[in-house]
Symmetry: C3
Subunit: 345 residues, 3 copies
Amino acid sequence: MRGLENYPAFGFAGWCLRGIGQVVFQNNPVSGAIILGALFFSSPVYGAISIFGVLVSTATAVVLKADRGMIRDGLFGFNGALVALALIAFTSEDFRHGAVPSVYLTVYIAFAAGMTTVVFASLAALLEPHKVAPLTMPFVLVGWLFLFAVLDLHNIDAGPLAKPVSPSQYDATIQYSLSTWYRGIGNAIGQIFFQDNWVSGYLIVAAIAVNSRISALMALAGANVAAFVAAVYGAPEGAISDGLFGYNAALTAIALGGFFLVLTLPAALYTLFGVVLSTWLWASVAIFLEPIGMPVLTSTFVIVTWLMLIGVRGFSALVPVTPAEAATAETNLAHHRQAARQNPE
Amino acid sequence: MRGLENYPAFGFAGWCLRGIGQVVFQNNPVSGAIILGALFFSSPVYGAISIFGVLVSTATAVVLKADRGMIRDGLFGFNGALVALALIAFTSEDFRHGAVPSVYLTVYIAFAAGMTTVVFASLAALLEPHKVAPLTMPFVLVGWLFLFAVLDLHNIDAGPLAKPVSPSQYDATIQYSLSTWYRGIGNAIGQIFFQDNWVSGYLIVAAIAVNSRISALMALAGANVAAFVAAVYGAPEGAISDGLFGYNAALTAIALGGFFLVLTLPAALYTLFGVVLSTWLWASVAIFLEPIGMPVLTSTFVIVTWLMLIGVRGFSALVPVTPAEAATAETNLAHHRQAARQNPE
Amino acid sequence: MRGLENYPAFGFAGWCLRGIGQVVFQNNPVSGAIILGALFFSSPVYGAISIFGVLVSTATAVVLKADRGMIRDGLFGFNGALVALALIAFTSEDFRHGAVPSVYLTVYIAFAAGMTTVVFASLAALLEPHKVAPLTMPFVLVGWLFLFAVLDLHNIDAGPLAKPVSPSQYDATIQYSLSTWYRGIGNAIGQIFFQDNWVSGYLIVAAIAVNSRISALMALAGANVAAFVAAVYGAPEGAISDGLFGYNAALTAIALGGFFLVLTLPAALYTLFGVVLSTWLWASVAIFLEPIGMPVLTSTFVIVTWLMLIGVRGFSALVPVTPAEAATAETNLAHHRQAARQNPE
């Protein structure tokens, strides 16, 4: 696949596939392709719109002459894909399958995807001194801004945000069952891409495993811990089963569990701490946003991960990896062990 | 006029006139004087309070011994003028003409204007590494804080914020007409200074043109694009005609269209992109603020312009100008052409 | 006491006592011990939970191998103590005395206290270039996040946030009396630690005076100015008497009045300005947070103090002290005078 990317047309396609993979930190076109398959399996509309989003935001970066290396790694693409998915998800009557967008909405999505590229560059500049990545914050910010405005633009038919976006919208009396768990885990991974389809969720785990087994394991572990903590603290069955407590936790687990921190024992405990925080604080952000009817998106993951990484150089028990150096959890660990062998303390 | 400013009294008056001009990026006392005329034409109360605001915030900077060059350029004045206008506008029963403030409210406004000077210095320090200006954010922050508190301070008679501050407060059934357009453009420029007076708006365009024809053109172009985009997306007639979609867009157009970016073709397209975003996102911020009844002020302009400028050094298709170097769109262009002649690529 | 801290067990206890003192900027174990006494005097539950909070957050810093000097000075402890107090205060039916937490809530509080340590390190990194301290922002952020989530975690019995958190919840017809004033001042100091007990408030002033008479004086002056300004602007009696307008103002007075600025005449006036702003803006933040039912905590103090200190290097009328150098208001003044003698201008 690497060889094909040297041909211009294949090259651009490869950058876009990596962009899809980067949503879950996988800089690998094969991972991106499998994820795309999982989206098409869940709904062709979602599959197509994610291609549109990643295409527009990557093309915007090319036109503005952004850093070539970052474009090639798909870093300007993943927020575009996510914002396109979100705008379909929250304007469609049928959240599960999504509706084909009108011309108005398509133009609107294109601007939103383009804006994620600009916001990515700005956040990267702001975070540069702290060696922390923008993560999915461009998507969250642009997503909120564009979702709000929809309500006032009468030529875009906004569905009534039919999807529950806060735990209080679920029935608190339903009992937990086995399916709460296996559907909940799959849905948590699926929700990262707005898919209410637990089979797609497990396909996405497989896509991650192609590039990094540690990250795939972390995604599952994060979703499991989230379901467990939410259940212990009495969260409604529907919110757990729909994966709402878990999608931020799964992302936090991948980010802290090996990708931006070398996976030592202290880092594993630090990751567990972050996963528990992400679980509780999803509910917190949901309640904060309830009066204005906005969804949490992946804001909890970004807030927790930023707060846990920005100050990490002050904690000598942990070994951070800069965004520029972070490749996979496995290579981070290998580099660290090699460095430790060369400079034994 | 430059000569007169060497005399202390005239000097301070000149700094204040430049302060009025700086609201629309014009470091020129004649522009400031014409704008002041436009305000007095619309309402003597608004004219007088803007003088009070610019005076207090500039004097605060003098007392605190801030940078002389920045004081002279009116940079500590424009946020003071705006916050004074806003506090009158949103506490008066009659938004159009404004009410003479009580002693309580006058003291309150003085503190608000003084605070903009402090916030300007802080934002300038925070943004310094990114070569981006605080813009009108000191006004927006202080304005929000001081407008909220008014509701609880019983000795200030807050009007019921009679002015619609969100598109949903307008009748959606009224048809667009010719006056929607020419009033809408004038009002959009007028709204920058809280004036519901389209004639004043065109006077302000003339004031800008005295110092920079490109900026005047950009203000008009920004307001026109905003009206067009809002109409295409089905915004209510009243919101367009009152200039609500346009005032942020006009400011974004001036800022990006030649002032902080050299006006090349890519910059013109980038500005168009920003203007469209400012139009849509005004509605977005309005809806976000609706539960607490707060006005958008110029927050959309600041957010869009910051996000589009902070990361701009990562886009080699664009040529940024630092706040310290930015004089007028015309001189930015001239310097760039001269530099290009001397160092042909 | 210094000698005792060299023994490990006493050392850790000393760091925790200093942590209690640091809430009001007093790096002194005796101050911490007296404050602890004031809390136990008001309610044993609050006394015990503040020890739990400071213990967990300080231990977290030790485990993560944070800077030893900062741990010793109690800087990782004070936010943990505050967040523990807040979580008891806002989940107890009886705000005044607080309820003994369940196991669920205790685990929850431990995570919150631990998170303040992480957030402290991150904010310290973000603010480092501006030589400004995180203040109580870690507590405010973590407090809000953990208070929101409580509403959705059914196994934590959240009281109905019985305590009024906004001036509009008080009866506006009650007349001011002498007790409005002396109770209001005491309660304002008490509210810093969530204590509705004016006697405890005066005990805390005594605790401050042990370490710095200027700071004790500033705390009283700040609370007095706040009560005066609130009364002049017609605030409800109950809000003044409960100390709600004053606790942020008192903290701002200590921070600006000698601790982070050398107490010259311009600094005293600047502090007065900040105290008035903190008084008004408490009402502002309260109204902003009302739709989601959240308390202001010490957010107003942090916002005003940050905005007034971040840009202060741009004002040559004031002499800032970096967080690393700030010891007590008295020593700051002595160092400044000594430096002035050695380098007369």
